[in-house]
């Protein structure tokens, strides 16, 4: 009976008709990519709503809106949702959509696992978000879940199981990406001709496989400490609270790069397109990503300079951290050199990419300052740190994702987005995000700790400015939503197959919108068509 049905005629024509069949049962990399992107955009708005609560409470001194405990729930949930719900899944969504198209593969290597790794995510987040409606409230010990504080929370078990599910999803996604890249490239797509975006994801996927189990181990120990009377982190029972921090940040620092390496890849595709000039130093770019990934494993304790490490450890982690500035600098210099001597136009993806390079670099500067341990005794756990990681994660990671969305949405939808509204979104975002985060540097230097719901009146002015920037930035993202909906459903302007004049790479050789199945037969590759086909170095 099974043999009669082995060849399904519909398999190679179009998408299944039924909604449930198409979206819930999907094994198609494009549909799953879309699901990931929609999911992450939803989470971006939910996490953003939490941020609005935070900025509203911090609008002026005094407690006006929420209880301090709820404020802590908001900071914790904002981080968890943005990191695990918005940034990471959106990069996975982009990988799903683009990697097969970029390497000339018909689909991801493991399509059913692809479905599973997506559909775990909504359940993980239902579990996590449901804690907000429970009697004990949501997790309020910070996304870092440091014991003993996190063990005081009643919802820690929900949080831990949610983290386990996210971890399983990430590991499966990473396995899939590695298998696809290493096994399913079209003939002629040599590793050193792959788009930088594909390279960045290959390296990121290895980071994910290496560190997600570490996080799972750390939170499992929390779970047994809380419910099964183990004493991993309980000083009174012979354990050590600092052990958790070491394990957590051994995961946590590579995690930070998991959220930025694919961004490097995206920017390395977009800038050459709009500069109409091949990327400068392709191999250096790839090696820089690889060395940043390697270094990410030996710098974790720079998050812990104030826990009282021995001096030798502080010196080691300080030097190792400072080293990261070298490959990161190479990347920034190479992007600038790609622009130099080009023939540039400034469509929305390029605007977001340029803003990325500048503002991510500002985040890198504050990162270098934070690496200096003696100065970090002052900066640590202040708004200076908050400003730093929002520059690298919002104007870094999130801006790169928006750049990617504008860059590839013609390929996804077959329509061009409204350039006018895209630019309005860009300018509104880039101004407001600086109003939001730049003053936080001042607040931190002046002495405002992070994660506090109320503050001395000396911090009032910059907090008010920051909050205004926050509301403005939040509102600006509704424009993005509008542009996306308009582009997909209402835009009359059809996209060409090669949607951008300077765009190179296999993804632009298939029709727009990309048909349900592409590269059923491996493409014949001409190096001139590739973005990085003729790199000598």
């Amino acid at each position: 009976m099974a043999h009669a049905a082995t060849h399904d005629h519909h398999d190679h024509h179009g998408a299944p008709k039924g909604f449930f069949q198409r979206w819930v049962m999907s094994t198609n990399h494009k549909d799953i990519g879309t699901l990931y992107l929609i999911f992450s955009l939803t989470m971006f708005f939910i996490g953003g709503a939490f941020a609005m609560v935070i900025r509203a409470e911090l609008f002026k001194p005094g407690m006006q809106l929420v209880q301090p405990y709820f404020f802590n729930e908001m900071t914790t949930m904002h981080a968890l949702v943005m990191i695990f719900g918005a940034i990471m899944p959106s990069f996975v969504g982009l990988a799903n959509w683009m990697i097969p198209l970029m390497v000339g593969a018909p689909d991801m290597a493991l399509p059913r696992m692809n479905n599973l790794s997506f559909w775990i995510m909504p359940f993980a987040f239902i579990l996590l978000l449901s804690t907000l409606f429970m009697p004990g409230g949501g997790p309020a010990g910070g996304w870092t879940m440091y014991p003993p504080l996190s063990l005081q929370g009643e919802s820690i078990a929900y949080t831990i199981f949610a983290v386990h599910l996210m971890g399983i999803s990430s590991i499966m996604g990473a396995i899939n990406i590695i298998a696809t890249i290493l096994n399913m490239r079209a003939p002629g797509m040599d590793l050193l001709k792959m788009p930088v975006f594909v390279w960045s994801w290959l390296i990121t996927a290895f980071l994910l496989i290496a560190v997600m189990p570490v996080l799972a181990g750390a939170v499992t120990m929390l779970l047994t400490d809380k419910y099964f009377h183990t004493n991993f982190f309980n000083a009174a029972g012979g354990g050590d609270p600092v052990l958790f921090q070491h394990i957590f940040w051994f995961f946590g620092h590579p995690e930070v790069y998991i959220m930025i390496l694919p961004a490097f890849g995206i920017i390395s595709e977009i800038i050459p397109t709009f500069a109409r000039k091949p990327i400068f130093g392709y191999r250096a770019m790839v090696f820089a990503i690889a060395s940043i990934a390697f270094l990410s494993f030996i710098v974790w304790a720079h998050h812990m300079f104030a826990v009282g490490l021995p001096m030798g450890a502080e010196i080691f982690f300080m030097y190792a951290t400072m080293l990261i500035a070298v490959p990161t600098g190479v990347k920034v210099f190479n992007w600038v050199s790609t622009m130099w001597g080009g023939s540039m136009t400034f469509e929305t993806p390029m605007l977001f990419s340029i803003a990325f390079v500048i503002l991510f670099t500002i985040g890198g500067f504050s990162g270098l300052m934070l690496a200096l341990a003696p100065a970090d005794f002052q900066y640590h756990d202040t708004y200076f740190v908050v400003a730093h990681f929002h520059y690298v994660l919002v104007t870094g990671a999130a801006f790169s994702i928006m750049a990617a969305a504008y860059y590839w949405i013609p390929k996804w939808s077959g329509n061009m987005y409204s350039e006018t509204w895209g630019k309005i979104h860009f300018w509104s975002s880039v101004i407001s995000v600086n109003v939001l985060f730049f003053p936080q540097h001042f607040l931190g230097l002046a002495g405002m700790p992070r994660r506090i719901p109320d503050y001395n009146v000396a911090f009032a002015n910059f907090n008010m400015i920051s909050s205004i920037g926050g509301f403005w930035f939040g509102a600006s993202q509704l424009i993005f939503l509008g542009v996306v909906i308009h582009c997909v459903f209402f835009s009359k302007k059809k996209a060409a197959d090669r949607s951008w004049e300077g765009a190179k790479g296999l993804e632009w050789t298939v029709p727009s919108p990309a048909p349900f199945h592409t590269f059923d037969v491996p493409p014949v590759i001409h190096d001139d068509e590739l973005a990085h086909g003729n790199t000598e170095h």
Binding site: K60, P61, M63, Q67, P68, Y69, N72, P148, Q152, A235, P241, V242, K277, F280, G281, A306, G308, M311, M318, M322, L323, A325, V326, G329, V330, F333, V336, M339, W340, G341, G342, S343, M344, F346, V357, I358, T361, M369, L372, A373, P374, A375, F377, Q378, D381, F442, A446, G447, P449, R451, I452, D454, N456, V457, A458, A460, N461, F462, M464, G502
Partner: protein, 299 residues
């Protein structure tokens, strides 16, 4: 700033900018303060911070400058034609080596700072700091080589701030002032009193969860962790009142456990310490007389 709003903020910029470049040292947070305090102690990361800041500013000007020149000169709308080169070994060596040299310079400075900070030996006095949810406890261990007898007390947010910070209290945080300084959430019922010009070793521990003891004017923070005795030191140069806060998330009232260090001349401190010791003795005697079970000594 419940009344002035943005207008006042903008007009205060001039003062802030002047302070940044004029180098006025603030010990405690001031409105519109832009930069780190120089601090009031012998050890301060301020110089290190400023060097790093200026290094970043200079690199930023060069890199962003090059970007803006590129964006202006190499526009398609100005008729720019894309060049084909993708590589320059000479340039790549330069921008790998130059950052390394800058980093070595910064690392050298920072290593010096770390070494001097790590040296807690030869202290003239020792104070044990314990973090609790949500207050601090200070115990005077020794002074000038002699043990201090039972001087220790809790230090928590003072009452007016505590009332004002309740949700929808409708009390004005601006009104809470001590000697003209706005002390909302930065004042305690009983400050830590220390002598100036004395090397003080702090032993910092956590009583329940992890806290972090931070007074910006002293230039550092140190986590207070259950089961671990961390050490740090300071030598305060000028008498004054130095304010700080808990810097590690420690639960719902994390934002409401300030630290106040009152640095006084040595003679005044010795007098204060003697009074405290006497009081402790009296307390102890009274307890023995009543034959009551001895509770933990509290201030």
């Amino acid at each position: 700033m419940t009344s002035g709003g943005i207008g006042r903020s903008v007009s205060a910029w001039a003062a802030g900018a002047f302070a940044l470049f004029g180098g006025t040292a603030w010990a405690n947070p001031e409105p519109n303060q832009l930069n780190m305090t120089k601090g009031a102690a012998e050890w301060s990361p301020y110089a290190m911070h400023m060097v790093a800041l200026w290094v970043c500013v200079v690199i930023g000007v060069v890199v962003f400058g090059a970007m803006f020149v590129a964006m202006f000169r190499f526009r398609k709308s100005r008729g720019a034609v894309a060049e084909k080169w993708t590589h320059s070994t000479k340039l790549e060596v330069v921008w790998t080596v130059v950052p390394v040299i800058i980093l070595i310079f910064l690392a050298h400075l920072a290593t010096g700072g770390l070494t001097s900070f790590a040296d807690t030996t030869n202290a003239d006095m020792t104070i044990k700091v314990t973090g609790y949810q949500w207050k601090w406890r200070y115990d005077y261990v020794d002074y000038k080589g002699k043990g201090v007898d039972q001087v220790g007390f809790m230090s928590k947010l003072e009452e007016t701030s505590d009332r004002t910070r309740q949700l929808k209290s409708n009390l004005d945080p601006d009104k809470i002032q001590v000697d003209g300084y706005h002390t909302y959430l930065l004042d305690v019922d009983k400050p830590l009193v220390v002598p100036v010009g004395t090397k003080i070793r702090f032993i910092i521990v956590g009583g329940d969860v992890i806290h972090s003891w931070w007074v910006p004017a002293l230039g550092w923070k140190m986590d207070a962790i259950p089961g671990i005795a961390n050490a740090a030191w300071t030598k305060i140069k000028e008498p004054g009142v130095y304010r700080g806060q808990c810097a590690e998330l420690c639960g719902q009232d994390h934002g409401f456990m300030p630290i106040v260090v009152k640095a006084v001349p040595k003679a005044e401190f010795e007098q204060w310490l003697a009074t405290q010791e006497d009081e402790a003795k009296v307390r102890k005697a009274a307890q023995t007389a009543q034959n009551a079970p001895a509770p933990a000594p509290q201030g």
